[in-house]
């Protein structure tokens, strides 16, 4: 049977993969998807801790995380569309609109 350590290691691996993508990719859409991967790691962590300590609060925090991810994706993607319509690029190192 998997223990709590298995789930925590899986959650940290997912969080680090998302962090790597968030820090190194150029495409703004993939940066937002990396944030989603980090949030999925947090979901695994909270659900596992809630399951193993037999406390229901972690499940409710997972519920709130999913709602927050929906709001964050809506705002972030509308900002990406805004940047693309103004500057005609969505690469983070080509956005030099605020330079100087």
């Amino acid at each position: 049977m998997p223990s709590l350590g298995h789930y925590i290691i899986l959650a940290i691996i997912l969080f680090l993969i998302g962090l790597f993508g968030f820090l190194t990719r150029r495409n703004l859409i993939i940066i937002l998807i990396s944030i989603e991967i980090m949030l999925n790691g947090l979901i695994v962590l909270f659900a596992a801790i809630s399951h193993f300590t037999k406390d229901i609060s972690g499940y409710i925090i997972v519920f709130f995380i999913i709602a927050m991810a929906a709001a964050e994706a809506a705002i972030g993607l509308s900002l990406v569309v805004l940047i693309y319509r103004r500057l005609r690029t969505i690469y983070s190192d080509e956005i030099i609109h605020f330079k100087g």
């Binding site: 962090l19 999913i66 709001a71």
Partner: protein, 176 residues
């Protein structure tokens, strides 16, 4: 045969590899589809944790709403010419240093946490209590966490208004 461990390892390995390939893929459409695979497997991982309501919420909200939103934006922004260039940023050594520092801090804290609390035991999924999981979540959500639930509703409303406002403002700017 230890079926719980086999199912857990299958779900974990598919989740890790699909998210790694999603980060390293060149075109955003493959990224969105690989993250879809990861989210479906994570929903079944939540099912092994005894959270069947969260499984359904994960499938409906994440796979049904958020990733479709990403898919619409990927189709809206046509990037077919620009996908042949480098996919990572230029100053990758500094970023890799920051990443290694953060991951070292996280893994150190993980070992501290695992040495503190080794005494949790897993129990079989699907027969947790006599009450179902939805009963517990509804009971706690509408008694202890009612204010937070209302705040989440207000945050979603503000997000809808903000998205509509941002898109509408761009159309006015382009008409000038």
């Amino acid at each position: 045969m230890n079926w719980d461990l086999i199912i857990f390892y299958y779900l974990a390995i598919v989740m890790i590899f699909s998210s790694v390939f999603a980060i390293f893929s060149r075109h955003p459409i493959y990224t969105v589809l690989l993250v879809l695979i990861m989210i479906i497997h994570q929903a079944f991982l939540l099912l092994t944790l005894g959270a069947e309501f969260l499984t359904v919420v994960q499938l409906i909200v994440y796979a049904g709403a958020i990733l479709v939103l990403f898919l619409f934006v990927v189709y809206l922004i046509n990037l077919r010419k620009e996908t042949k260039r480098n996919i990572f940023i230029k100053k990758i050594s500094i970023v890799a240093l920051v990443f290694l520092l953060l991951s070292a801090i996280l893994i150190k804290n993980l070992f501290i946490f695992l040495s503190l609390s080794p005494s949790f035991k897993a129990y079989l999924p699907f027969n947790l209590e006599e009450k179902p999981n939805v009963w517990w979540i509804a009971n706690y959500l509408f008694r202890n966490y009612l204010l937070q639930f209302e705040i989440i509703g207000v945050i979603l409303l503000v997000a809808i208004f903000g998205a509509c406002f941002l898109i509408r403002k761009v159309k006015i700017v382009e008409e000038k």
